[in-house]
Amino acid sequence: MAVAMLSGADRIRRILADVPDPEIPCVSVVDLGIVRDVTEACVTITPTYTGCPATIAIEQAIRAALDANGFSHVALMTALSPPWTTDWISDQGREKLRAYGIAPPPKGAGSPSLKNATPAECPRCGSNDTGEISRFGSTPCKALWRCKACAEPFDRFKCH
């Protein structure tokens, strides 16, 4: 379909689909579920973690992408509620994370039980024989895991 035939909101969605997350550039802000709503007049985003240092960088990247594509009149709003959850990460986003070496979060974050979490699938060898090293990793959204089959450490996107 020719770009000219798309509505304003659809064109904005296409632009945002190319805006990478600053910490995990293999996925876009749309893949991560950060973009909550798009209209011709307004883009609404939601922060992932309240203390995530990437939040400001994400806002700036989205603003710059809108401006560069002739959408400087479109407002950028932030909404906290409902709170972001890893369930909003798209299936496509999950595959991109896995290919990048980050185990995607299990679905069903609605009632997170931190104990007895299902073992992560190693993004390198696919084994489920894995264990958590630390619940807190290199960014707020990731935990440190290791694979007992291939002996490699890896990041797991936390269920949130």
């Binding site: 922060p47 973690y49 309240t50 203390g51 995530c52 240092p53 906290l80 509620s81 409902p82 709170p83 972001w84 997170p112 931190l114 104990k115 090293i133 630390s134 619940r135 807190f136 990793g137 290199s138 707020p140 440190l144 936390k158 949130h160």
Partner: protein, 249 residues
């Protein structure tokens, strides 16, 4: 500042001061994983502080934003509880503080996410998920240190012993809390105490520890009467804005 703005300010100050305290561990923790964990918890706390202080400024309506409230107030204007300003001490003392406070935050935010005021509820619903991780981290370490070596056990006991006198302040109610409750943005903190006791006791049992003996509570943080520790913390945290007022980069 009126009661409703103060209500938001108190939660913002609690998170801000604890976040700053935890940041002191950055690069000094006993292991890399612990260093990352404490820095992550600090980030979450500072993120929560940004939201609550922003809201306090919005309710106040005098144009003060979260940065103005964090960096341009003096020690007697801070309303955080005394627990969060306590020095890090050794690792066990830091864990004791986190353990007592995180379980309080878990219960507080669960209730606060259901209040009528959508602004408070939205921040709380988001923060509730984060503090669940903090409580789990601290509880794991209480068990590991308490049920560990003679040395780790003695340190865990000493850490809890130091922090215990500041617990009652978490659940104390005054006219600010009453006003917030009536306005549909507050939580009856006193009602959280028995659930908190239950959570703490369960972890202490796992750690083969007994709770410290009851003692006279030390209060005053909510009305600006702080220990000397807070002034030292602020002198570091606020240095840049004090030396170069209004500096941006």
């Amino acid at each position: 500042m009126d009661a409703l703005a103060t209500y938001a300010l108190r939660m913002g100050d609690d998170s801000l001061i604890l976040g700053q305290r935890l940041s002191e561990w950055c690069g000094h923790a006993p292991a890399l994983e612990v260093d990352l964990s404490l820095a992550n918890v600090a980030l979450d706390q500072i993120g929560q502080a940004t939201h609550f202080l922003g809201l306090a400024g919005e309710i106040e309506g005098k144009g003060r934003d979260a940065d103005a409230l964090a960096f341009r107030r003096d020690v007697m204007d801070f309303t955080n509880c005394l627990l969060v300003e306590q020095p890090n001490g050794d690792f066990a003392q830091t864990i004791a503080r986190q353990f007592l406070f995180s379980h309080y935050q878990v219960l507080l935010f669960a209730e606060l996410s259901a209040v009528k005021d959508a602004r408070f509820a939205a921040i709380a619903a988001k923060a509730a998920k984060e503090v669940t991780y903090h409580a789990a981290l601290a509880s794991d370490w209480v068990v590991r240190l308490g049920d560990g070596t003679d040395e780790s056990r003695a340190r865990m006991i000493a850490g809890l012993d130091w922090m215990w006198r500041f617990v009652d302040e978490l659940f104390a109610l005054d006219e600010v809390d009453t006003a917030a409750l009536e306005a549909g943005m507050g939580v009856d903190k006193m009602a959280l105490r028995s659930a908190w006791d239950h959570r703490i006791d369960a972890v202490l049992a796992d750690a083969t520890l007994e709770g410290p003996a009851p003692r006279r509570a030390v209060l005053g943080g909510r009305s600006g009467r702080h220990s000397e520790h807070l002034g030292h913390l602020l002198s570091e945290m606020q240095f840049l804005q004090r030396a170069y007022p209004g500096a941006t980069w």
